[in-house]
Symmetry: C2
Subunit: 112 residues, 2 copies
DNA sequence: TTTCTTGGTTCAATATTTTAAACGATTATA
DNA sequence: TATAATCGTTTAAAATATTGAACCAAGAAA
């Protein structure tokens, strides 16, 4: 398989993740969850509603997208769902690899 | 300025770039331009129309988005516009920095 | 049990993005 | 000078994403 074909696959694999990260509302959710004060116990949906100023269904929707790319997960406590960032950095690593490959290809062929 | 505030700014700065990279049609354009055969002279809009199967206005639209995030630029030759990937890796570096900071924050606070 | 809190889902409305048709401008070619 | 090729833009349509209202379910509290 050619390098270019591999790159194409890497792009496709990172596509959902890129889209998930690009949205500013979701970025706000991620940043809220990155807070050292909350990074372990996570935040409830209602907390995120307060932080982001979005409606609950909107927050719920964005959380689902973030969960699909395995950036967040949640833990149930009674009626409350605590959302937290997964420590799984696979998607991030994948994206970093892609960026490295793109740069490599760009720079490798720069002076041919 | 707190780390979290910095992260928020980095997210915002990379937002357009993330969105630009997330779209599969634009990914196809980028991959086509990454081909060692064309990475120097670039490709005309009509070539990209053939490669992607999109209409010319659609290609033109996506090229504008890619140009806005300074991932591509073009060179005029007569009536032809040759689009090529800029060798400017600023946006990529910025995104990599952001990803590193996110991972750092995630992992640093992991065992508190 | 009844009531309240929490939060997911559905569905319709809204907003945004993407697309193509039509047009115009520029340059090359006949 | 015509004619053809290349490409950007505008505008309206189509597709997609986002949102909120309304509803339902599960668990906690009274």
């Amino acid at each position: 398989m050619s390098n270019l074909t591999k790159l194409k696959h890497e792009f496709t694999k990172s596509s959902d993740f890129l889209v998930a990260l690009g949205d500013q509302k979701r970025q706000a959710i991620i940043v809220a969850l990155l807070d050292p004060q909350v990074i372990h116990r996570g935040l409830q949906v209602t907390d995120l509603v307060d932080v982001t100023g979005l409606s609950r269904p909107a927050v719920s929707h964005h959380l689902k997208i973030l969960k699909n790319v395995q950036l967040v997960d949640y833990r149930r406590e009674g009626t409350k769902n605590f959302y937290y960032l997964t420590h799984q950095t696979k998607a991030i690593d994948q994206l970093k690899t892609l960026l490295d490959h793109v740069m490599e290809t760009m720079i490798c062929n720069q002076n041919l």
